[in-house]
């Protein structure tokens, strides 16, 4: 196949750029959300429900399918009738509950529906896949987020407060003097420190791993030392240490190829948050919020940014019927 002419390529790339334009995505997503919202909430456009419950052949097929999927023999006519009756019961209770207004002012229902909207945004976000170029560009703009902590290979001598009590730090200082003046003693370094519970040598440890094993204070001090010499004493949660760093790899930002899967995940996660935010803003703009003249005295939470006073934010604790449903 021959190369397309430049004009076509230019047009394509323009179209491509336009197709990848976040604003367009948000417009499409917003429209889709709005459309689906209208679609799943048709109550306003339809006649009120009659007392007819229609079971279609598809419904029956689905019921028996579910039955079979549970590893049981095909349902007998009687079992089938029970399944239908269960479905009818559910529909009847549901419609009666609606008629009684049980869906109104139900925090559970409200929150759950709000969460469904979030999931919807998630799904829409998941439909968008970044192109390699797009991902690379985004990585370049967000490089700092992928920075890797410094790493060190180090050995240490331990001075135990269990053995030396308050003198552990002093003993470490004296040992350092001896190391520096070359008087390490006949038995080498072994005689200088105390037995340590874990390792004497820690190869290629990130800052976080050192902090996990010794505490953050020690990690900070360790990474401030100069490699290739005994230094210290440094205090850890276990006592005092003299350290020798063989090798210190400073913090670095890895090249794109090394972290591409991670970048992809972050891109999708960002896209998802952004999608939710923009979709919410679009929806939010269609509402006007009326505030009370003075905030109620029992308001415990500050009003969020914007002009929303959210009575829903009040902790919905004791009156909840939750425990009947398990939970906690």
């Amino acid at each position: 196949m021959s190369e397309p002419p430049d004009s076509v390529r230019a047009g394509r790339s323009r179209a491509g750029r336009w197709l990848r334009e976040p604003l367009l995505h948000f417009l499409v997503a917003g429209l889709a959300l709005f459309g689906i919202y209208r679609w799943i909430n048709p109550a306003a456009f339809e006649a009120p429900a009659t007392n007819r419950i229609v079971i279609t052949p598809d419904d029956l097929r689905q019921m028996s399918l579910v039955w079979l999927a549970q590893g049981r023999p095909p349902p007998t006519p009687e079992q089938m009738a029970n399944l239908v009756e269960a479905k009818v019961r559910e529909e009847v209770l549901y419609r009666e509950a609606l008629a009684l207004g049980l869906d109104q002012d139900d925090t559970i229902v409200k929150r759950r529906m709000a969460q469904k909207m979030d999931f919807l945004a998630d799904d829409l976000a998941a439909l968008a896949e970044p192109t390699p170029d797009e991902l690379r560009t985004w990585f370049n703009a967000n490089r700092d987020r992928f920075a890797q902590a410094p790493r060190a290979s180090f050995r240490h001598l331990y001075f135990s407060p269990d053995r030396r009590h308050a003198q552990a730090a002093e003993a470490a200082t004296q040992a350092l003097d001896r190391l520096r003046t070359g008087h390490a003693g006949a038995d080498g370094l072994a005689g200088l420190g105390d037995p340590f519970m874990f390792q004497g040598y820690y190869p290629d440890r990130s800052f976080d791993l050192v902090a996990k094993d010794f505490g953050a204070k020690f990690a900070r001090a360790l990474f401030a030392q100069t490699p290739g010499a005994w230094s210290g004493p440094i205090e850890s949660g276990f006592g005092w240490h003299l350290v020798w760093i063989d090798e210190l790899t400073p913090a670095r930002i890895p090249p794109f190829d090394e972290v591409e899967p991670e970048v992809r995940r972050a891109w999708i996660s960002d896209r998802r948050d952004e999608m939710k935010r923009v979709a919410y803003q679009a929806m939010r703009q269609r509402y006007r919020v009326v505030l009370p003249d003075a905030p109620a005295p029992e308001m415990k939470f500050p009003a969020p940014a914007g002009n929303v006073v959210a009575p829903e934010m009040k902790a919905p604790a004791p009156q909840m019927k939750l425990p009947a449903l398990g939970g906690l």
């Binding site: 689905q62 229902v109 469904k116 004497g200 850890s236």
Partner: protein, 752 residues
């Protein structure tokens, strides 16, 4: 340069010789402690959503576990104090799938007739489901179509995809897991279920909508295992189970506890959570009156705070469960409660606070604000000041992978902590010697010559078993106070416990009267909420031999490590607010760690040597007569009766007041008291009384919310008594007034 080389050559042998652990990054045959989370909820849990955690997902939870800051449901950033090595997000399975319904146009479901219907009726379907869920759970008649794999499977699948995305073998392990949330009658029967391999999980989890009976959960787990999936259940919050987590006669649905029940539980439910945000489940001062450290993060609460009820204490704590387990082994031949120990969170915030210094609550809007928390906000009946940081689980595993960590759970080589990273090793064997600890290879020797925590002692090879116990402090927390070994044993249907101080910091001497090591003291400055590590140890280790071992009796042993006192979160936050620390909770805590037990089971031959009382059935065969109400009243009411516990030899007197109250007097503190008798020593000393009732041929008393009944039998001129929790043994005998009560001096007046 030359000197560097010399130093290196000197140091490397030293490094290699360091005590028993190899590089953490390559598999270590002697195993490393990996700390992680077995119990975490996100906004996907129905109740978390209600509490106001509406945004964050399992993916966020894994981010938090790895050290990234995420938003608290109230918006402020929260960051873990020390990142975890592994975690399984355990959202409630009950609502799995409901969320997703009708919202995924790409799903296979959306293309079916039902699916289309669901999409069209979206919001109402959610309402329908909630109404139906509520109704069906009350009726115990769940609707099958709500549990169909296509629907419920989707969120489960999404959860598992997030675990897969977070899983980094060697660095961080993410498990596929969920919580089975059975709460019959407000009793917490919850279990977390962990899968070894996310590639081998069922289409959807088994929820309490399908069944609220643990036996059904275990049966389902057996089925999964037959289909090639490996999984394990972890019970939690025994303390909120209202006495139903460790039943002894029938389970909560009335099924007798028999060998099959025990085997099914042991096969599936290998671990139990000993501490979490809603309190500890190790033991309670009423069950362990001689354990001065039992009074720790007690949370008496039933989910939903039902009116007129209070949680029953017996049956709600792990130590008693372990004791009942070995007693059932002795009396009935099976032990349903050979459980390993883990810690957990149960935070509903997607993220968990593990430390007193970082406590941001666990229930979103209900305890997320410092003033709300410290005001003693009553959240569904619970004063949130009784909450505490989450527990943590340590797993001894070769490497940080799903397979290695799961195997550690399976063999119960696990320990729980109160949230700190105390490392605790515990081994049992017959030939350990104190000298072994001076070598650098002691861990290797310990594995070679015995068994690690969670296992059974090999058959007896010596007079008494020895235990190697070793603990190192969390480098960011308090020093260690002591290590204790908690022993439980059983005889003739009775169970007993004793807490031995085996190694401790400083120069303290055992109390000559009680043999206990005195308290370490405290460096806590309560107004400033600070402490110093000027007391306590970094590392404690010893080899301990059981001085009271009897090879004819079933026993278990577990280790408990205590830190020095440090400020509780309420004290720290009181300082922050400039108020006095609340008095409803202690100002300081002693953080701790608990190992899984090691069990000893006597051989059939050895068992014969154990002294046992006659069983009620034997007495009846010999012609004994069970006393009826009138005979019981004639024998007891308005009288003081002397009795002897024939298992321990302890003698005591009971005053049966005509007003329905009784007092027990002369309880010998030197003699171990059988389980579930309450704090008889203290009550005897103080002269406190409790109610009794004679009814239905039984003398009934109430201990910690549970009824205990005594039946009395007359054989010849002797009266024998049997307690309802002693497995059919008649362990008590009525006696004349004894001449002496002491056991220290043998003195016979007539021989003088």
């Amino acid at each position: 340069m030359k000197s560097t080389t010399t130093l290196k050559s000197l140091v490397i042998p030293l490094a290699l010789a360091a005590a028993g652990t190899a590089w953490a990054q390559s598999p270590n045959p002697l195993r490393e402690a990996y700390f992680g989370e077995t119990h975490q909820h996100t906004s996907w849990s129905f109740d978390a959503f209600i509490f106001g955690n509406t945004k964050t997902t399992p993916a966020d939870s894994y981010k938090y576990a790895k050290g990234e800051a995420i938003p608290h449901p109230m918006g402020y950033p929260i960051k873990i104090t020390t990142p975890l090595d592994w975690m399984g997000v355990t959202d409630h399975s009950e609502y799995v799938g409901v969320v997703q319904m009708a919202n995924d146009p790409t799903s296979a479901l959306a293309k079916t007739a039902l699916g289309k219907k669901l999409v069209v009726h979206g919001p109402q379907d959610i309402q329908r489901i909630y109404l139906l869920l509520g109704n069906s759970m009350i009726d115990g008649k769940p609707f099958k179509e709500l549990m169909q794999p296509d629907i419920a499977g989707t969120v489960w699948k999404r959860n598992n995809e997030m675990a897969d995305a977070a899983n980094e073998p060697g660095k961080f392990t993410a498990f596929c897991a969920y919580e089975w949330t059975s709460t019959p009658d407000n009793r917490n029967m919850h279990r977390n279920v962990f899968f070894k391999d996310c590639a081998k999980v069922p289409q959807m989890p088994f929820s309490s909508l399908e069944s609220t009976k643990p036996t059904d959960l275990w049966a389902w787990m057996d089925k999964q295992r037959q289909a090639g999936m490996e999984l394990v259940a972890i019970s939690h919050n025994a303390n909120l189970s209202d006495g139903h987590m460790f039943p002894i006669d029938v389970d909560e649905s009335g099924r007798p506890i028999d060998a099959a029940w025990a085997a099914s539980r042991d096969r599936n439910e290998r671990l139990t959570e000993i501490k979490q945000i809603k309190g500890q489940s190790e033991t309670h001062p009423l069950l362990s009156p001689n354990d001065e450290f039992a009074n720790y993060e007690i949370l008496n609460y039933l989910l939903g705070f039902p009116a007129g009820r209070w949680p029953t204490i017996p049956g709600s704590y792990v130590r008693q469960g372990l004791k009942d387990g070995i007693t059932m082994q002795q009396a009935r031949g099976f032990n349903p409660y050979k459980t390993g120990i883990v810690g957990g969170s149960d935070s509903h915030n997607t993220a968990t606070p593990y430390r007193q210094t970082n406590f941001f609550g666990g229930h979103a809007l209900n305890d997320g604000d410092i003033k709300e928390r410290m005001s003693g906000h009553v959240f569904a009946g619970m004063d949130v000041r009784f909450e505490n940081p989450a527990g943590l689980t340590g797993l001894w595993a070769e490497e940080n992978t799903r397979a290695s960590l799961f195997d550690a759970m399976w063999r119960k080589e696990t320990f729980g902590t109160s949230g700190v990273r105390i490392k605790l090793r515990f081994f049992g064997g017959w030939q350990y010697t104190p000298a072994m600890l001076s070598g650098s290879e002691w861990v290797k020797t310990a594995y070679a010559d015995g068994v690690p925590m969670g296992a059974d002692l090999p058959p007896a090879k010596g007079k008494a078993p020895s235990f190697v116990v070793w603990a190192v402090k969390d480098p960011t927390s308090g020093n260690l106070d002591r290590i204790q070994i908690v022993k439980g044993w059983s005889q003739s249907g009775q169970s007993f416990e004793k807490v031995y101080d085996v190694v401790w910091a400083g120069e303290r001497k055992r109390d000559p009267q009680t043999g206990k090591v005195p308290p370490i003291g405290s460096t806590v400055d309560i107004p400033n909420a600070t402490y110093t590590n000027t007391i306590g140890s970094v590392e404690l280790k010893t080899v301990w031999t059981d001085p009271d071992f009897d090879p004819s009796l079933d026993a278990f042993y577990y280790a408990r490590v205590l830190e020095i006192p440090t400020p509780r979160w309420t004290t720290i936050q009181a300082k922050e607010l400039g108020i006095a620390p609340p008095e409803v909770v202690p100002a300081t805590v002693q953080e701790r760690a608990w190992s899984s037990p090691i069990w000893f089971t006597p051989t059939g031959e050895a068992r014969k040597a154990a002294k046992a009382s006659p069983k009620v059935a034997d007495l009846l065969k010999k012609g004994a007569v069970k006393l009826n109400d009138a005979q019981l009243r004639a024998l007891l009411v308005g009288k003081s009766t002397w009795s002897q516990n024939n298992v321990t030899g302890d003698r005591f007197v009971v005053a049966w007041n005509a007003n329905g109250q009784r007092q027990i007097k002369y309880v010998n503190p030197k003699v171990p008291q059988p389980a579930l008798t309450g704090d008889v020593e203290r009550n005897a000393y103080l002269g406190l009384s409790s109610a009794y009732e004679i009814k239905g041929g039984k003398v009934s008393v109430n201990i910690g919310g549970a009824p205990f009944e005594t039946t009395i039998y007359k054989l010849g001129d002797k009266h024998y008594a049997a307690r309802s929790n002693e497995f059919g043994y008649a362990n008590y005998e009525m006696t004349p007034v004894p001449a002496q009560l002491g056991t220290e001096v043998q003195f016979n007046m007539h021989a003088k």
